[in-house]
Symmetry: C2
Subunit: 437 residues, 2 copies
């Protein structure tokens, strides 16, 4: 491959993208980033400028972690094939993965994406219940297949939502439903789900499952106490449905205290889906469930995935899990996460437009408001802050129901020194960014 | 990772699979193969035994091709991220891929699997036509998502087929529909499709697309003349529908004379989907279409795929395409394919149970029958032949409407010497395998 000595300009890359990919293929930031290199928590652009990556969860144990790269290289050099032949690495991986779960989780399917995993999970619910009705929260994202995009209100499906799909408002600890908090908030959420179950049963579709991110990551990770989901869990089980926990974002130790988001909140799901960080960027996803549910799914549907669980993908996932464990990155997420969140809380005392600081482990953020009394979302301001941070060399982004929450979710090898740089830069940017343009 | 000095037994691996993966996860052959190494057209089992791989199309340019491995290693060591940042490699790849297509193909989406590609293709058809009705052939396989598994009669969907799905019998050159051949056969196929279009329009679902493998690979790759699909193409276009060509199996030069199956048969599809061989085993798929259709899809649906088109996957796909071209593997497929098919035809003169020899390039096979007059499928015999070939060190398999066709589809670096070994082994196995047990 010949390369020009000068890197291509941003404009030329954007032109090629528009021509080759079509319209509506967004990039991050007003000035899109052309990245060429990554290492640990750092990425470099084509001009050689270095950025602190406080956003990307896919390179979970750090960009280009040498042990993961080596595992991919060794296995790709040795053999890559599919699961119609016997191979140990997928089995080794599933065993080590299952060791991080509690009973009754005992079985898994490996896929190539979290979308594929959620697509299977919905069919597991159908296989178990004989019904198709599914309930999701209203600002979530569970993936891009035809079936799964039915769940996402921020990526609405072609042709509209099916009759089998119902949405409930996600919990919002900063602006709780009906102004309620604590147990009343939890019961209000469960009641919403009960109403939708009743609708589905009345409509004849029947109720199969509730699918949720147990951390409500896309919905601004509300600050919910352990046990918050107990009432909704009871409602789902009483209706004969199953719970699918989408662990694509909170999973793999990101929350610091627990390997999985459902363990953190105290939820007991029936099916768990995994994606993004599972293999540090190699295309892998997985569905984890009980022996019983797996048997019902496998008996009802003949699933095969050519690339799913191939030796190279399995080696990448296994290396990622081992690095996570051997480098104590979950503990690191807990310690550094708490340190960083404390720093954010101090900034919230200084700046009136930081309405709320939320999150745990290495997944947290700050909700920007016009003032702390009205809690009116400062969406446009949050966007300017994220863009200015990028200009200052720190990558983060914004999300939440109002897109006004700064989202901080760095690779798991994020240290206190990195946190200091993040906090100092954020302080400087908040100082100089006007709330109103 | 500690390893026992002795490789695990087949029994222990099967036990672990049953425990960890659940039931109904099939392996190839009566004696499943535990593969540990691959190189070019060769694979090795855990006992060190070497097999000639005449079956696997995923390692398209040869198992563990060093240039593909090196491309993966280099890029995985440098940066892996997603397409919300700018990166050249996906653009370079799409440009080089599109150079192998004719107008109006000008745009692509990269995915992680062929299933994801077909799942998108169906939505493109919906975006363009505003309708959902789809027609597929009756013994095909287009993938494993909820939406796409609706198309596959050999992997029936949970809950049955949707009202929007219709199947037509695949062409069968050995047992043509109504005994017709040539133009009459082609017209009969087109008439079947017209009838299903009429049904869909009458039902109110409307007709959006015909999806076919232009080589009808899973259906025993019938021997069809160029232009065979002209009548059906006319029928689809007149009805305002689009044609999706699933090139997962015939694509990337496998047929020897053309890069794509649709070019070989003279079909002009609107959307083309790619998978398995695209990146020599790295999880990649793609959808290729016109600028116009891409714009309609992108305007109707906000598609994003976290792993799709990432720099490592793009580097793997780019290296695979470049090796294919620079090592002239398409030309090799034409020459060696013709040589091997000729050898098979000679075997068909010797053995009465070889009813038909079909195929082109490095994708061909021999249909086993009880006798050439009745053409009764010798399915059980074909299965024994495939198993005995495996015992003799040559990997192939069987497929087709009656599962009685030996399927030969080796990596594209298959040589005449490999063909000789295949043919000699097959001759020896056919000689000693009784037609009836």
């Amino acid at each position: 491959m010949t390369k020009d000595t000068q890197p291509p300009t941003t404009e030329s890359l954007l032109e090629r993208r528009a021509k080759l990919l079509g319209p509506n293929v967004p990039t991050f930031y007003d000035q899109p980033l052309h990245l060429v290199k990554g290492k640990g928590v750092w990425v470099w652009d084509a001009q050689g400028r270095k950025y602190l990556d406080c956003y990307n969860n896919v390179p979970h144990v750090g960009h280009c972690h040498p042990r993961v790269v080596e595992a991919i290289y060794q296995q790709a050099s040795t053999l890559n094939t599919h699961t119609r032949y016997l191979h140990e690495t997928m089995l080794d991986y599933i065993e080590q993965l299952l060791a991080t779960f509690e009973a009754p989780f005992a079985s898994a399917i490996m896929t190539c994406t979290g979308s594929e995993a959620n697509d299977i999970a919905l069919r597991m619910a159908q296989a178990v219940t004989g019904k198709r009705g599914v309930i999701a929260t209203d600002h979530t994202y569970h993936g891009n297949t035809t079936a799964v995009s039915q769940l996402s209100k921020n990526m609405p499906p072609l042709g509209g939502y099916g009759e089998h799909v119902r949405h409930v408002p996600a919990p919002d600890s900063y602006r709780p439903l009906g102004g309620e908090s604590g147990t009343a908030h939890a019961l209000a959420f469960a009641n919403q789900v009960q109403n939708k179950i009743d609708e589905l049963e009345a409509s004849g579709m029947g109720f199969s499952s509730l699918i949720i991110c147990p951390y409500f990551a896309n919905e601004g990770f509300p600050d919910l106490p352990k046990g918050f989901l107990d009432p909704v869990q009871k409602v789902v089980k009483q209706a004969g449905g199953i719970i699918i926990a989408d662990e694509v974002q909170p999973g793999f130790g990101r929350l610091g205290s627990h390997m999985w988001g459902h363990q953190y909140i105290g939820l007991k799901p029936d099916v768990v889906t995994l994606g993004k960080p599972i293999a540090n960027g190699h295309p892998v996803g997985a569905v984890v469930t009980s022996t019983d549910i797996m048997q019902q799914f496998r008996s009802a549907f003949k699933y095969f995935n050519t690339f799913g669980g191939n030796p190279v993908s399995s080696a990448a996932a296994l290396a990622t899990l081992q690095v996570l464990q051997q480098e104590n990155l979950m503990e690191n997420a807990q310690v550094v996460g708490a340190y960083t969140k404390h720093g954010l809380q101090k900034l919230a005392q200084k700046y009136n437009f930081i309405g709320d600081v939320r999150g745990v482990g290495l997944f947290f953020g700050a909700e920007m408001v016009l003032d702390k009394t009205s809690k009116m979302a400062a969406t446009e301001f949050a966007n300017r802050v994220a863009n200015t941070m990028r200009e200052e060399g720190v990558l983060l982004n914004k999300l939440g129901i109002y897109y006004n929450t700064l989202k901080i979710r760095p690779p798991m090898c994020f240290s206190q020194a990195h946190a200091d740089l993040l906090l100092q830069t954020l302080d400087r940017v908040l100082e100089k960014t006007p709330l109103h343009l």
